[in-house]
Amino acid sequence: MKMKIKPGYLFIVPAVIMLALFYLYPFMKVLQMGFYDWDGISPKTIFVGLSQFQDIIFSNPVWWQSMWHAAYITILALIFQNGLALLLAMLVDRGIKYGNAYRVIFFLPPILSGIVVGLIWNWIFNGNYGLFNHWLSDIGLGHLSRSWLSDPKTALTCVAVIHMWKGFGWGFIILLAGLQNIPRTLYEAARIDGASGWDVFRRITVPLMMPVFVLVMVLTILGTMQIYDIIVSTTNGGPGYHTEVPVTRIVARMLFSSQFGYACAMSLVFGAVLVVLSVSQMKLSQYLKRV
């Protein structure tokens, strides 16, 4: 029994097995469980068709509220986190003094655990003995003091600030790598031709950095929409539902309500939203490149 096998296919067999075992199979299982009512323990599963999806999409306002919260944090991160990352990357790219030290310092927050970061900021934003209120008092703004993470007006924005503080280092490193790939000769030529700093940024840096911007934006969207650890260690989704995000809702259904099937359906809906967002982002960047 002899069979002709192209050797190239043999080389990819281990990767295909790993992919099937740890990616495709769990995904298919989640897809399947979305159609079943299952508590995660019992051997009994009951087919409920599309009713869980129907409930999530049409009758679960908290779910869509949590989606909006994640979107709000994402919008802030896209603007401020990436803006700060770009600014700092450009400063370091200019060869400022102690540039290497800044690289290390700016990359420290991303390597810390989200839970640790959350606990540190919990202490900073604490209403009774927090550093932030202390600083406000020092500069004469003591009347603004509050429990920042327990106030519904400020809780979500504070969580976004913590997330951005933790995340800007990633953008910084990627953007800096992108900036350093731009040939210096282009800048020198533009200067000789009399281009201003703004012109150089607009006509050279931005077009050449476009693929890097797209990458950073996609990573920011995907990373921020899936925010979880910082929420758990700061507000636990509260006060009320004010800082609930999709992942906290999924975990709550899975672990605290024992609705595994429903949580799987939520994950699928959430996954679909992320795919739509990513594809839209890609399309938009392709369009911008053409323009």
Partner: protein, 440 residues
């Protein structure tokens, strides 16, 4: 390139055979070993010491495996239940519904015959509340065969803990603690005036708020009306429930809750109380260990929550740390014998002394002193939702908890929250009925 499939298969067979034979030699595997999973990091050393003692007495090796924190433990048990890899004995830290599912899957042994043996000697040794939490009664809503399925190792209850120094500082006469709601409010006013934060508790977690609310609800309207609400016969918009919700607003207005309580996890609340940043704590009996380790100079007193209706009794929540025996374990009989030994008064006393927790054996509490003793006295008034024949929908309890948080932060009124909780109740009831129809 031609490849001989037979050769590949033969090679694979050889490799697998070699791999299969390369495990530990059989003589290295202990002949008898009971494996116990738990999440109780504070009791780990005491358990290990007892395991060593058991080995000396019986020759049987017992290995306690700690998986903490709780969430990690819960996930591990779930995963092991799905893959049938649960150990001989494991701690149950889950909802009643999940406990029922484990029993349904044959993963929990029915201990009733062992409890009933020798004129129910084993059964009679426990605090009733601890045992009932491991019992499924006749006609339970999960259709589980009636019986006792778990063994309480220690028990706890949740009460108010006062920092006597801070109360004195606020001008409160510490010879008696508030026993009525009015006195509680007066204490809050005094603390507020003295600039001392009121109560620290893990009200950012789902269950702590529910616990306090349940205490007050039982006091205001009694058990039957609470049960009728869960059964859907009384709405959450009933005036008695509005009264329960209003208590939280009063607590906020009179300085009885510390700033940030609505997002506080219990660990943080424990730190605040231990470091004297809050005068009152609402916490379980396990907290005494925590406070003593953080601040040994703390002067504490424990008391039941104050009565909102002085005519009715006050009840408190109790809990238990329970172990179950895996129904599919090959060491089932040995595991049960070990649990009988572990809950004997000698071992219970050792455990109580080493861990400062309330033993599950009601005759073994003499060794307890100080605040933990005060907690023990509260066991007479202990109840737990698990003792009730019906259980509220998880999303209704979530809406309840989130609603109370909204009342405390002044975002919603008690009436608005009551309406929202009732709407969730109706939604979940309809959904459950729809699911029932689909299941049929």
């Amino acid at each position: 390139m031609y490849i001989n499939i037979r050769n590949i298969l033969a090679s694979l067979l050889i490799i697998l055979s070699i791999a299969g034979c390369s495990g530990k030699p059989a003589q290295n595997i202990p002949s008898k070993e009971i494996i116990v999973w738990h999440w109780l990091s504070d009791r780990s050393d005491a358990f290990d010491a007892l395991a060593r003692k058991y080995k000396v007495q019986t020759g049987i090796n017992v290995r306690f495996e700690l998986y903490a924190p709780t969430m990690v433990y819960m996930s591990k048990v779930r995963a092991a239940a799905q893959t049938n890899t649960l150990p001989d004995i494991y701690g149950v830290h889950m909802e009643r519904k999940d406990f029922a599912s484990l029993i349904d899957g044959g993963l929990v042994a029915d201990l009733t015959p062992y409890m009933d043996a020798d004129n129910s000697a084993w059964k009679k040794s426990f605090f009733q509340a601890g045992l009932i939490m491991n019992t499924f009664q006749e006609g339970n809503q999960y259709d589980v065969k009636p019986g006792i399925y778990g063994v309480p190792i220690d028990i706890n209850n949740i009460q108010l803990i006062y920092n006597l120094d801070l109360l004195k500082k606020a001008g409160w006469d510490t010879s008696r603690l508030p026993s009525t709601w009015q006195e509680f409010i007066s204490l809050g006013d005094m603390l507020k005036k003295a600039g001392i934060q009121g109560m620290a508790s893990g009200w950012g977690e789902p269950w702590m708020i529910l616990c306090f609310a349940d205490n007050m609800a039982w006091n205001i309207m009694g058990k039957e009306k609470v049960l009728a609400t869960i059964r859907g016969e009384v709405p959450y918009t009933d005036p008695d429930w509005i009264k329960v919700f209003s208590l939280f607003r009063q607590m906020k207005d009179h300085g009885l809750v510390s700033d940030g309580i609505v997002t506080m996890v219990n660990k943080e609340a424990e730190q605040d109380f231990a470091n004297e940043r809050a005068a009152i704590a609402f916490n379980g009996s396990w907290c005494i260990n925590v406070y003593e380790s953080m601040n040994p100079d703390l002067k504490l007193a424990v008391a039941m929550p104050p009565k909102a209706d002085p005519k009715n009794p006050m009840y408190i929540w109790c809990g238990t740390t329970s172990f179950v025996v895996n129904g599919r374990s090959q060491m089932k009989e040995e595991a049960i014998k070990f649990l009988q030994w572990l809950t004997d008064c000698n071992q219970q006393t050792e455990l109580a002394v080493a861990t400062n927790n309330i033993p599950s054996g009601k005759m073994c509490t003499d060794v307890l002193k100080g605040p933990i003793r005060q907690f023990t006295e509260g066991m007479e008034y202990a109840v737990h939702p698990r003792l009730l024949p019906v259980e509220e929908y998880p999303l209704v309890t979530e809406a309840f908890q989130k609603g109370v948080q909204s009342i405390i932060i002044g975002e919603e009124t008690p009436e608005e929250v009551a309406k929202a909780v009732q709407e969730m109740k109706e939604r979940e009831t309809k959904k459950a009925e729809r699911f029932k129809r689909i299941k049929r």
